[in-house]
Each structure stands twice: as C-alpha cells, then as structure tokens.
C-alpha cells in the first residue's frame, strides 16, 4: 500500500466513566481532527467501530461534531471492529475512491465476562459462553507444549503493567509483581485475574489521507499506513465462539493475517521496532510472538525472558501497557493501538518511547474468528 498516510490520531482515555458513548466518541474524534488540523468538512467519510451500543452509533457520535452530510457507516467485527474500519478506509484511499476518511472506535463494555461473544443460547446456558475458557485452554496447551510456565504468564502481565505506568490513557497505571499476579483470583485456570484484560470504556480515532492530500496540506514526514490485513475463519482455525475444533492440524488466524500484512508492506519480522498486540490474556501475547513471526514456535517464553519485548529491549511489545493495562473497549481497542503506534513513530511517547521506532505492527483478534495485522512506518 503506497498511498495512505495517517494525518491525525485522537483518543478518549480507556477506563470507566459516567458519560455515554456519544461523548467518549466525540472527544476522540475532535482530538484526531485537531491533531490533523482538519474539520469534519475536510472528510469524505466516517467509519465507526462499535460492538454494543446499538443502532446508528456512528451517526449519533458525529452528530455532536457537525452535520456535513458525508457518509457515516458502522463496522462491527467484535474486537477487530477498529481494524475493519482501517481495512476499508485504507483500501478506499489506496484505490482512489476516497481522499480523507476518519476512523473512530467507541465502546462502553460492561464490567465482567463479556456477555455473549456470538455464542448460541445452548452454549451460554451450558456455561460455555465464557471467553476466558478459550484463552485458558490455549494457555494450558502453550505450557504443555513449550517451556513456558505459569511464571512466564505472570511476567507478561508484570511487563505490560510496568509499561502502562507512564501511559495517561491506560486504566491501570500501577506496576505489579509476579507474586501479586499469582495471588490474584484464578478466573479460568491457569489464568488469574491479573492475567486477563478488563473489558471497559473508551474511544480512539485516526484520520487517513491520500498522500497527495497530505502533501497539499503540508504534512511533513507523516506516518504511513503500509498494510492492513483482515482474515476470517478458515477450516482449521479455532477461536471464540466455536464449540468444537479439529483435534489435529490447527491453523492460526494471526499467522495468516501477519503473512498478508508483511507481504503487502514489504517487510519481514526483523524490520519491526515495536508491536501492539492483542494481549486479551497473558498467554495470548506469547502466542502472538509466535504467530506474528517474532520468534520460532517454542521460543515464546524465551523471547519474553530475554527482555526483547520489554521497553528498552530491541522490539518492545505493548509499550502502551497493552489491553492488560489499558483495558479493552471492544470496538475501540485496535484504534487505541494505532494511537500508540503513531505517537511512538512520531517520537512523542515520553517515558515509554521506543528509541528509533520506524516500523510498528498492530494486531487484533475478534470473536467470530477475525484477525487483523497492520504495518505503519515513518
């Protein structure tokens, strides 16, 4: 992808708030417009990611910013909803169908287990409509098949919480110890509470421009969006909410999404300076190391232990603190990652700045079998 640049990003911090989704979305949208020095009238389209708010969510948010008459379309792909907006917007711009699109993710996810991530009624009634069950089974398999231990899972959470201390947009900004993680209640063994992200509220936004428009607007050295892939389920994938899987020959949505994105961007994993990945739980981050090609299968825990993926390492993963620290407003999480990535590539991430960041990868997974990988560079 050669023609798409990111002109501005905005965010409403992730957490829990009294305000409704409209106000959260408005804050993130105005923040992105200010960052890009643009107005609603400079846009061709607004794409809005949301999972739970109901009808005309995007229209209700944009209404608070203005009435320019442009198309406003809502996109839902569970936790990959933000990625869906970026996928569509980047292709429309790359192919000349639009010049300026604002992508917005906004969500107010209730506390606790996410209620019904696409499960059938019999699964819910049978006690199977629980996302962490899937994560726990993956974690158990990771521990059984590699040298990863429960301590490694705890240390993912320790790392990401340490990263979030300096992130004003994260919900949890307190460092924690391995012992504190392991003392927190077991939700779905082997996963403890502090190894799981908290569904929460927030909004994030990005404005994508055709590079010609960016040049006319005298945006110098912008962040480029080099690739956005979105893949859905193939025959041998397994994720929420599938009630069964093939016993042998599992495949990975993330692996396929990363291959597509790296090819489109013309990079390989050795080019990556930082990653924001879907650490819905601690084991998911380790699995992402493998499936994003950051390490060989079996070396997931070793990569973590080496410090490579910590701030100060050669390829920090989730320098924002990840979902484990920020929380996960479902429809906004991917654009929240992009907000962090753009600020990192601009060199504006203060104490959590990845020195020399030029190439960044974002990764999300969504219920219903969606995965997306994006590549951004400066």
């Amino acid at each position: 992808m050669d023609n798409v640049v990111i002109a501005g990003v905005g965010i409403h911090p992730f957490g829990r708030f009294g305000a409704g989704y409209r106000l959260l979305g408005e804050v993130a949208m105005r923040d992105a417009l200010d960052d890009a020095d643009m107005t609603l009238r400079d846009l061709d389209m607004v794409l809005v990611a949301n999972v739970g708010a109901g009808m005309a969510t995007g229209q209700n948010v944009v209404e608070l910013v203005g009435r320019s008459g442009i198309p406003i379309l809502n996109v839902e792909a569970a936790c990959a909803s933000s990625a869906g907006t970026l996928y569509l917007a980047s292709r429309l711009i790359e192919n000349g169908a639009a010049k300026a699109i604002l992508c917005l993710g906004v969500e107010k996810t209730p506390k606790g287990f996410v209620a019904n991530a696409g499960f059938e009624a019999w699964q819910i009634a049978s006690g199977l409509g629980v996302n962490p069950v899937y994560f726990a089974l993956e974690a158990q398999q990771l521990i059984a098949s590699t040298d990863a231990t429960i301590d490694d899972l705890a240390d993912v959470s320790v790392k990401n919480h340490a990263h979030a201390v300096s992130n004003p947009n994260a919900m949890y900004r307190k460092a924690c110890t391995r012992e504190e993680v392991l003392r927190s209640p077991e939700v779905c063994p082997p996963l403890h509470l502090l190894m799981l992200c908290a569904p929460n509220e927030g909004a994030a936004s990005a404005i994508l421009l055709h590079r010609d428009v960016a040049a006319r607007r005298q945006i110098v050295n912008p962040v480029r969006l080099n690739a956005v892939s979105v893949v859905s389920r193939s025959a041998d994938d397994w994720f929420v909410p599938a009630p069964s899987l093939q016993s042998d020959g599992r495949t990975s949505l993330t692996w396929r999404a990363s291959l597509e994105a790296y090819e489109e961007a013309g990079i390989d994993p050795t080019d990556i300076d930082l990653v924001e990945c879907q650490d819905t739980d601690a084991a998911s981050e380790l699995l992402a190391y493998r499936d994003l090609g950051l390490c060989a299968a079996g070396d997931e825990a070793g990569l973590l232990r080496s410090g490579t993926t910590s701030l100060g390492g050669s390829m920090p993963v989730n320098p924002s603190g990840g979902l484990l620290s920020k929380g996960e407003p479902l429809g906004a999480s991917g654009l929240g990652q992009l907000h962090e990535i753009v600020q990192q590539l601009r060199g504006r991430s203060d104490l959590r700045q990845v020195v020399g960041a030029n190439c960044a990868v974002g990764h999300v997974m969504g219920a219903g079998h969606n995965a997306s990988v994006l590549v951004a560079t400066r």
Binding site: G112, F113, A115, N116, E120, A121, W122, I124, A125, S126, G127, L128, G129, V130, P132, V133, A136, L137, Q140, Q141, A144, P185, E186, V187, C188, P189, P190, L191, A235, D236, P243, S244, L245, Q246, S247, D248
Partner: protein, 148 residues
C-alpha cells in the same frame, strides 16, 4: 429471542431420544461427517466447511479423551450452571474435539488423556450433555423435573 426459544435451542444439537433421556445417562452427540474428505464437525451442519461436500450425520461415541480442561470460577452471564465448574475439551476418535461443561468434576482430578464420557445433564429444566469422568457417579444438578 425469548428465553424459552433460547432454552429450546439447548437440545437442538443433540439427537438422542430426549423423551427417554434421564440425568446422568450416557448420550451420543450428533456430528457431521464429510462424504468426501471424512472430516467430522460438531454440531451437525449442512455441508463440509472445508471442502463443501455433502455430509452424513453420525453419532459420536460416548467416550472421549481429555485434550484440555479449565474451570469457570465466577458466574457467567446467562449460565444455568453455577460456578465454579469445570470445562473439558474432549477429543473423539473421529478427529473432532468438543467443549463441554463438567459440573461434577474437579479439575484437580483431571489429567490430559483421561477418558471421560458424555452424559445427559439437566440445565434449567432441559436436557443437555456434559462430560463426566468415566466410572464416576453422576449426580446431575437437580433441576426442575421438566425434562424432555
């Protein structure tokens, strides 16, 4: 969808004789087996998701091998089973692994490759299936008696 409609769906994926089912009896889950590539899928479906060919409905055996397990230690929205309860991923010889609740099993008594059996479970007054360690007494979960 009304609550009643939702509960009725509980039994849609089970083809055993629910009029005669009683809590704790061994039951066979229905699955689809591809006429072309032999792949087995649960629940049953119209055609093979991998190659698109026609499928036959088969009954899985009542014994599965534990491929993975965890527990749900906090009540889940909409669940008719009170936490804590175990969840087992049971692998059948036909190559498909199925998630099932196991409210009468402690995960501390489970190991990978253990054998478990599929048994009828009363969930909110309807019969569904769960996994129980083979040979262990099945207690069921009481229920309203409105079993079908």
């Amino acid at each position: 969808m009304s609550e009643d409609d939702g509960l009725r769906q509980l039994s849609d994926h089970l083809l055993f004789d629910q009029d005669r089912a009683t809590v704790g009896m061994a039951v066979n889950l229905a699955a689809s087996q591809c006429q072309s590539c032999n792949r087995t899928e649960f629940p049953i479906r119209m055609d093979c998701p991998k190659c698109g060919s026609n499928v036959n409905t088969i009954m899985l055996p009542t014994v599965a091998q534990v491929k993975g397990f965890t527990a749900v230690n906090f009540d889940a929205p909409g669940s008719q089973i009170t936490a804590p309860y175990a969840v087992i991923l049971g692998s059948f010889p036909q190559g498909v692994s199925v998630l099932g609740p196991a409210p009468d099993v402690s995960i501390h008594d489970l190991s990978i490759n253990d054998e478990v059996k599929t048994v009828a479970l009363d969930i909110g007054g309807r019969i569904d299936s769960d996994f129980n360690s083979q040979g262990r007494v099945v207690s069921g979960n009481g229920g309203s008696g409105d079993i079908y």
